[in-house]
Amino acid sequence: MSSNTSSVKKATSIYSVSLFSRLRGRSASGAIGGILILFWLIMSVIGPMVAPYGANDFVSYDVFGPVSAKYWMGTDYLGRDIFSRVLNGTPYTIGVALAATVAACTAGVVSGLVAAASGGWLDAVISRTQDAMISIPSKMFALIMVASFGSSVPLLIIMAAIAYMPGSFRIARALAVNVMTLDYVQVARLRGESMAYIIFKEVLPNMFRPVLTDFGLRFVFVVLLLSSMSFLGLGVQPPDADWGSLVRENISGLGSGAPAVIAPAIAIASLTIGVNLLIDSFGNKSAHH
């Protein structure tokens, strides 16, 4: 009964409030997430430059050394500085994952829009193929790809992009189909607008938020997948190393509880938890409305 007035109020609080005050209204966990993401994004660009030591410099005779003022995260199984190696691994972990996620979501959204806009047999063919792709578990797909083509950075990007495209497609198509049935899209059709106008002006902007959330989730999945592959020795190959590789190469230090094993694993967790916290605060915010 009060739906009319309250929906007006709701709406005003969504749209008329400035971005700044909107961000201020977010929960503390969202802010922590945002800071973590920002930190790692900056590090993925300047990390290798600000690292105190070279990634492959043998700086200490003490293997699996403890945390110290000189070596913030201890030293690894060959006496290299773990902190520097983590910073040097940032472009691999974040850059590769970001490239793959961008590719996956772009391909997913474009094919989702094409399927939703065309309908008919084209939609059926695309949907069926994507459904088949989604039923190959991502780790399984990764293993098949690596077994067939060997592991390299471009392959990892392509592999992760293909593995996570169907999920993005599903969401984009569902969203697009939903928006396309709305009256304002019918109005545009009746006006005689072109498909391009309808997609770019009416449909896409109204899909933006959920697609962005999906992008974040997908990024987390890709980071986890690539780290796992590296952990299995099938991801980024030496001498390059991402965070998953760092855990793998130092796994023998686990028995002594060396920070060399724990630090890179925590780096991964801090990134993925950061993204999840931010998405969650968005989700909570919209759940109230």
Binding site: A132, P137, A147, S228, V247, G257, A269
Partner: protein, 317 residues
């Protein structure tokens, strides 16, 4: 069970078979895309052209790709996935020797995680916004964000290294008593469950909350039904479809999760078999294992779909 229901179920099964066929095509194409030659791989660089050609004929590699695909697919249909290129053993035999171990591990993980996850999901939905709900949600965010190998390494660090209760590796053969079983499976199952429970509980919570906001729940509340009655009598029958889907999706995660877990704990299951095949580039074995995993996934999804169809009251006569 009426006609509409059986027709819908047949429809789903048909779609599943179609999907499985597309999957087989994708797997076969990817694994045969590179001109990389199994015969060359087997014999090494020093092989003479004659022996290479002979082996190619023997392996059927000189046939065109579609013939090989049809042969492979036909073999799969009658339960023959070919032979390993590394040791020449039948792939079916290799898989059968390892499959029970993986199934035991998966069954363990599922039977522990499903009840826990469903109760957590339902309770946190009932007490939405309470400290319990928020705490659980926080834990779940952590659990799904962290790679499995971190959970596994931390578990090893605590239970094997610091406390010395468990062995870091799983010696399945030595597990004879129930106590020994627990010891062997504790850490792999714990690792699998942490992510599984988190995912399933979150999805269950969402499904229950979705139903809790519907008008018939308000109606039940205004009839004087207790919260427990509302959830058990009104919400759950309607949330069955979405929850079955949540369980199926989460369990299908198991298929990926076991790869890491088996590898860390050196557990003799299908995943370690497949990992070995990947590192030795034993393609027929890779194909066989991949098809098995995808088949498992499709079965889970199919079961969830059927649950959803059967639990839909609108399809009842």
């Amino acid at each position: 069970m009426n006609q509409t229901i059986s027709r819908l179920i047949m429809n789903r099964i048909g779609l599943g078979v179609l999907t499985l066929w597309i999957v087989s095509l994708v797997i076969f194409i990817i694994t045969n895309l590179l001109p990389g030659d199994a015969a060359q791989e087997l014999l090494g660089q020093s092989a003479t052209p004659e022996t290479l050609a002979a082996l190619r004929t023997q392996l059927g590699l000189d046939l065109p790709i579609y013939t090989r695909y049809i042969q492979w697919l036909g073999g799969l249909l009658v339960g023959d996935a070919g032979y390993s290129m590394v040791n020449g053993m039948s792939i079916m035999e290799l898989i059968w020797s390892r499959l029970p171990n993986t199934l035991v591990l998966a069954a363990f993980a599922a039977s522990v995680s499903v009840p826990i996850a469903l109760s957590i999901g339902i309770f946190s939905a009932m007490y939405r916004g309470s400290w319990f709900d928020r705490y659980i949600n926080m834990m779940a965010v952590f659990a799904v964000s962290v790679p499995e190998f971190l959970i596994a390494t931390i578990a090893v660090l605590i239970f094997a290294v610091k406390l010395g209760w468990l062995s870091a590796l799983s010696h399945v053969e030595s597990a004879h008593t129930f106590g020994e079983m627990i010891k062997v499976y504790a850490m792999p199952v714990l690792t699998l469950c942490s992510v599984l429970v988190a995912q399933m509980a979150r999805m269950t919570r969402a499904a229950v909350i979705d139903q809790l906001s519907s008008p018939y729940v308000e109606m039940a509340l205004l009839k004087g039904a207790s919260p427990m009655r509302i959830v058990l009598r009104h919400v759950l029958p309607n949330a069955l479809g979405p929850i079955a889907n949540a369980v199926a999706l989460s369990l299908s995660y198991l298929l990926g999760g076991v790869i890491i877990v088996e590898s860390i704990f050196n557990y003799p299951g299908i995943a370690t078999l497949m990992l070995n095949a990947v590192s030795t580039r034993d393609m027929p074995l890779v194909q066989g294992c991949a098809m098995l995993f995808c088949f498992g996934y499709l079965i889970l999804v199919l079961i969830a779909d059927i649950c959803e169809i059967v639990s839909n009251p609108r399809l009842r006569k």
